[in-house]
Symmetry: C2
Subunit: 367 residues, 2 copies
Amino acid sequence: MTEPSAFYAVVPAGGAGTRLWPLSRAGNPKFLLDLTGSGRSLLQQTWDRLRPLADGVVVVTGSRHANAVAAQLPDLGAEGLLVEPSPRDSMAAIGLAAAVLTQRLPGEDVVIGSFAADHVITESEAFATAVRTAVEVARQDLVVTIGIEADHPSTAFGYVEMADPVAEVPGSFTVAAFTEKPDAETAAAYLATGRYRWNGGMYVARARVLLNHLLRYQPTMHAGLLEIAAAWDSAARDEVTARVWPSLTRIAIDHAISEPLAAEGGIAVVPASLGWSDVGDWRSLADLTPADDGGARILGDARLVRGLGAEGAMVVPGSGRTVVVLGVPDAVVVDTPDALLVSTRERAQDVKSIVDALAADDRRDLL
Amino acid sequence: MTEPSAFYAVVPAGGAGTRLWPLSRAGNPKFLLDLTGSGRSLLQQTWDRLRPLADGVVVVTGSRHANAVAAQLPDLGAEGLLVEPSPRDSMAAIGLAAAVLTQRLPGEDVVIGSFAADHVITESEAFATAVRTAVEVARQDLVVTIGIEADHPSTAFGYVEMADPVAEVPGSFTVAAFTEKPDAETAAAYLATGRYRWNGGMYVARARVLLNHLLRYQPTMHAGLLEIAAAWDSAARDEVTARVWPSLTRIAIDHAISEPLAAEGGIAVVPASLGWSDVGDWRSLADLTPADDGGARILGDARLVRGLGAEGAMVVPGSGRTVVVLGVPDAVVVDTPDALLVSTRERAQDVKSIVDALAADDRRDLL
C-alpha cells in the first residue's frame, strides 16, 4: 500500500561545457545557453519539461551562476535555488537537495528525481511517461535510473545493464550493473544483447531511501549534509555551510551510491527512448541541429552564413560578422566576439585540449 | 651604336585581388596590403625594387586609390602619379604612361618598363639583372618581356615560348608565341621542352616603339592617348581626359600588342629566375609564407593563433581575436573585423565565386 507522495525535481546546474568552447565559457556555461535555437536555454528547457511533472523544482548551482539561474527561471523562487559555496560534485548537490527537502517537508514521503540542466530531450511525452514510471518504481524503495535507448554504439557514455523485470511496475527492470565508458567493440556487443541502455545520470528515489544509502556508504557526508540542511532555512545557514560544506567528499552519485547499490540489487531502470543528447561537444550539437539547403547546420542568424561545399558543417555566427565556409565539409566554425574556433566534427573531442592549453597559459579572459 | 637612354618604370596599380577576399577589398586592394609581413605593401616593395634601377617611377592608378598610393609612396611626387578617371585595362594605363613620358621628355630616348604593383619577387638581384638586360634588348627596338622560370606546371598563367637567341644581347631570345593558360598536361609538356617561361606581364620597350605599335594595331586609342598626353601637364587635363578617356578601348597590352607583335617576330624574352609570385590566391600566399613550428603559416600577429593539427594552414588573424585551428590541415582562415573566411588551400580559387555571390546580393559593404 503506497501513500501519496510529493515529487520534487532536482536540477544540478554545473559544468562549464568545456568542449563547446568558445561558445560555452566558465562565466556563461552550457546550461545557460540556447543551443537549439528555440529561444530557451538548456536550463529553461529542463525547467519546461519538469515543472508540469513535479510538485516543485529545485536547482542546485554555484554562487557564480546563482543570479543568472534566477534571471532565467523567474518562477523558481528563492526557496527553489540552492546555492553551493563551491563545487563538490553531484553527490553533494543531490544530497543537499534531498536533505533540505526532507527537512522542509517533515510529514511527507518525498520522492526526488535528479536531472542535469544541460541535456537535450526531444521526446517530452516519452520523458514524462518514463519519469512517472520511475516515481512509481521509487515507491518500492528502489533507486531508479532512466535508461536511454542507444541509437549508436557510443563510447562516450556509460551503460546500464538491465536484468529482470520489477514485478510491481511494468516497464521497469532491476539493474545488473553500471559499466564504464566502453571501447567501440564492447559498445557494439552491448547493443547486440538488447539489455544495455545509456546511463544519462537521471536518478529517481525516495529522499529518505537515498539518504539512508548515503548514511551507509558515506556516513560523514550524510552527517554533514544533515547538519547543513537543519540550518539551511535559518539565520545559521551561512555559518554552518561555510564550516561544513568544504569538508564534504567530492564524489559523483554514480560512485557514491549507484554502483555499490547495483551490486546489492537496489537499483532499477526504466528504459525509454527520449531523443536524448548530452550535447557534449560540437559533433553532438551538429547532430541535433537541422541542416539548411546546402547541408550546413547553423546555430544563430543564418543570414550571416554563406556555405559552399559546407555539407555537414556546424556554424555558429556569434559575433555579428559574415562567416563564409568554402569547401570544408563537416567543418566546425564557432565565431564569438573574442575567439574563433575552426575545427571539424571529427576533432570535436579535442577542443578540451585547446581549453586546457589556454588555461595553462592563464588566458582566463578566454575561458 | 646605342645612345644613352632614360629608363622609367611604369607601375599599373589596379585590380582588387578578389581571390584574397576578405583581406583584399575594393577599397583596400591587394597592392596596398602587406602580404609578406615585411612591413611594406606589395606596392611599396615594387617601388623598393624599381627605384634603384630607374631614372623615374610612374604609378598609374584609379582615382579611388590615388590618395592611398601617394601616402604609401611619399617620394613618388605628384608627377609620378597618373590617375585614371576609370579603369580601361592595361593597354590604356601603360599607353598613357608612355605617351605622357614622351611628351615630358621630348629630346630623350625613353625606355619604359611595366611592372605590376601586386606581385612578389624575392630574388631582387636576379630581377635587377633581368631588367637591365631587358633595357639593353629594348634598344634593339624589340618589345621585351621577362620570362619567369616555372617551378611547377601551373595552369594559372600564360606561357612565353622562346625561339632563337637575340644576337646582340646574351641571355635574351626572340619569342615564338604567347600561349593562353594551358591545361595540366599541356603545361607539363611545355616544361619538358625547356623553351617555355611564365608570362608575368612585365614588358620593357622604347616608349616610341611601343607607341608606334599602338598606332599600327589600335590607331584610335593611339590618337586618344596622344591627345590626353598633350594636355596632361596643362590646365586642359581634366577637360580633355574627361572627354577622351571614356572612349578608349578596354584591352590588355597582351592582346593589343604582345600577341600580334610576337607573330611578327617583334618580341624578345629575357628568361630569369625571380622567386616570383602573383600572389593570386590564398594558396599561393600560403606557399610564400614561412611555416611556424606546428606547420601553420601565419600572416599577422602569431600570438593570436593556436594551431593543433594545422599543418599547412594559412591563417590571417586580422581582427585582434584569438584564432584556434584544430585538426584542419591546409585550412585557410582569414579573420577580419566584418567577415571571416574558412576554406582550404585546395579551394582557394573558388573564393572568387563567393565574392561574386556577395556582389550579386549587393553586399558592397563586404567587397
